[in-house]
Symmetry: C2
Subunit: 330 residues, 2 copies
């Protein structure tokens, strides 16, 4: 027996297997092969990458690229470039712009093998600080409309280098998925004067159907209308629209919760490839009261096929109830 | 150098590599392994599947399941079932319905190895007729809001059985992607009194930047804002909102064009896994003048990663100009 579930923010529907939800060991995880090539992200090879934009170092007075803990560099093969023109050009029925934008890489650790879940808490804090500080810096350029921070871990999730890293893309346009989310949340606020995400947390505190854990000001859950098996969200408990407004204090809480949640996913699913995305309000968004930033974690366990591509519906073989229960127990 | 391009119907943007668009041999195609298991879709094994809903036979008077050319059966592991309740249930902030719907399999050929591009024209015509006739039959049940016909070819595109087959899913809800497309087209019509798809064809006839070929009443192109490399659309030249209004005459033209287009894709890309989706107007849709049904063909050559999941933006390493030129030359 399956159920159709509507995401209360976007109106997107999923089909979820509630009768026979697939457990973690139903999914095969491919091994992460180790390359023997020289890694451009390892200490000592800094000259293989473009010059850095931001470095967080052990000693503030050390020379650039020596003793760094986190390094932010422009992507060597950028999807977008800061020199391009963001003006719209009319091509009959079509519209285009130049490939204006920012595409940066956040090298999360000097250690080639130490991923976020293995790193010391302070290291994860530094990564989150780099995320925030790059957003705040880029926002000063009025041409940016949206900044997405994301991490692809494992070849199946789209990673081409294995050294721990995340990416940032700054866009001259608010992407449709983000606009849809902000609009859905605003629509709910207009009707009820309440943030839909805050309401979800309130309902979850009462019902505890989808909760993984709550601590240090952050709530971890597997959302009601999960598109993917073991999809997991991390939300700040206090209402906040923009990720980049996060304080150092809250970064400490988030670092602990992120580390723990990623460790649970790794443990439950045998180290799957995954994507991490920070969903935050568009830069000129007005949905301060209705939008609520959050992190989405999506393990790569299923394939997107014709039905998903044709409709935007997703078929989820695992119920989020089972996913939450599994992750909670780890 | 890249370009940002907006899809004129949905407003979805892509980033496309126009400076160094990747040619067909940039992409690795995985071999399609052949299973040695007994195939439930092969003639003689009809009892391994649920009883058929529709059979197109060699001789109209032959017994069921003997001498069939196309067989439509309920999916043995359906995502949705006709017995479930489509009524909405309120769960606090959430909405769900029972898993009501139809999930059918169209077995396209008695021959285990004869895919659409190798099959005789008459066989492809029969498949398209089965598509149409199943839509017309299901539409009589007023609970259906949308019917999607799609084909997953190859394991990478989500196929679990290798015998030539397509699928049909009938839904009690208009999916968000379809609704967005219909709405975008309606918005354009309100402004201009013209169908946006018809306008694309008019512009293409003049400029020929994205055209693969046009014949027998159908136009084949690689769309301006292609999300995926070698994404290819087939549109009827005459304006028509619903696929299921197609006449037998037009089916003959479509069968020839579909066969040829799939052969070109197979040839250019070394037999890639792909998805085929028929985009048609929602059953109770009112966009008769503005919506224009079409087939989307998406070879599986790239991975959807964090950026695509987080934004709905797609990064396309191949320009549709190069894709169209490549396919045209085949």
């Amino acid at each position: 027996m399956s159920q159709l579930r509507e995401d209360p923010v976007t109106g997107r529907w999923i089909i979820v297997n509630v009768e026979d939800p697939k457990p973690p060991d139903f999914f095969k995880t491919e091994a992460h092969s180790k390359s023997s090539k020289t890694c451009p992200f390892c200490p000592g090879n800094e000259s293989m990458t473009p010059p850095e934009i931001l470095v967080l170092r052990k000693k503030p007075d050390a020379k650039a690229a020596l003793g760094w803990l986190v390094r932010v560099i422009p992507n060597k093969f950028p999807a977008l470039r800061i020199e391009e023109n963001p003006a719209r050009v009319d091509l009959g029925v079509y519209d285009k712009t130049g490939g204006f934008g920012a595409h940066e890489v956040i090298i999360e650790n000097p250690d080639h093998d130490q991923e976020l879940w293995d790193a010391p808490l302070e290291q994860v804090e530094l990564v989150l600080r780099a995320f925030r500080d790059r957003c705040l810096d880029l926002k000063r350029d009025p041409r940016f409309q949206y900044i997405l921070i994301f991490k692809n871990y494992g070849a199946q999730a789209g990673a081409s280098l294995e050294h721990p890293h995340s990416q940032l893309i700054g866009l001259p346009i608010v992407p449709s998925r983000v606009a849809g989310e902000a609009k859905g949340a605003a629509r709910h606020f207009e009707k009820t004067n309440r943030c839909i995400y805050c309401e979800m947390l309130t309902q979850e505190r009462r019902e505890k159907r989808f909760t993984v854990h709550e601590e240090k000001g952050f709530f971890v859950l597997c959302p009601f209308a999960s598109r993917f098996p073991f999809e997991t969200w991390i939300l700040p408990v206090d209402h906040e629209a923009s990720f980049d407004a996060i304080t150092d204090d809250k970064i400490t809480g988030l670092a602990a919760v992120l580390k723990k949640t990623l460790a649970k996913i790794k443990d439950a699913l045998n180290g799957p490839s995954f994507n991490l995305m920070i969903h935050t309000m568009p830069i000129y968004g007005k949905e301060l009261k209705s939008y609520h930033w959050h992190i989405e974690l999506i393990p790569h366990l299923t394939r997107v096929a014709g039905f998903e591509l044709g409709t935007g519906f997703y078929v989820n073989p695992t119920s989020p109830e089972l996913a939450a229960e599994t992750l909670k127990a780890r």
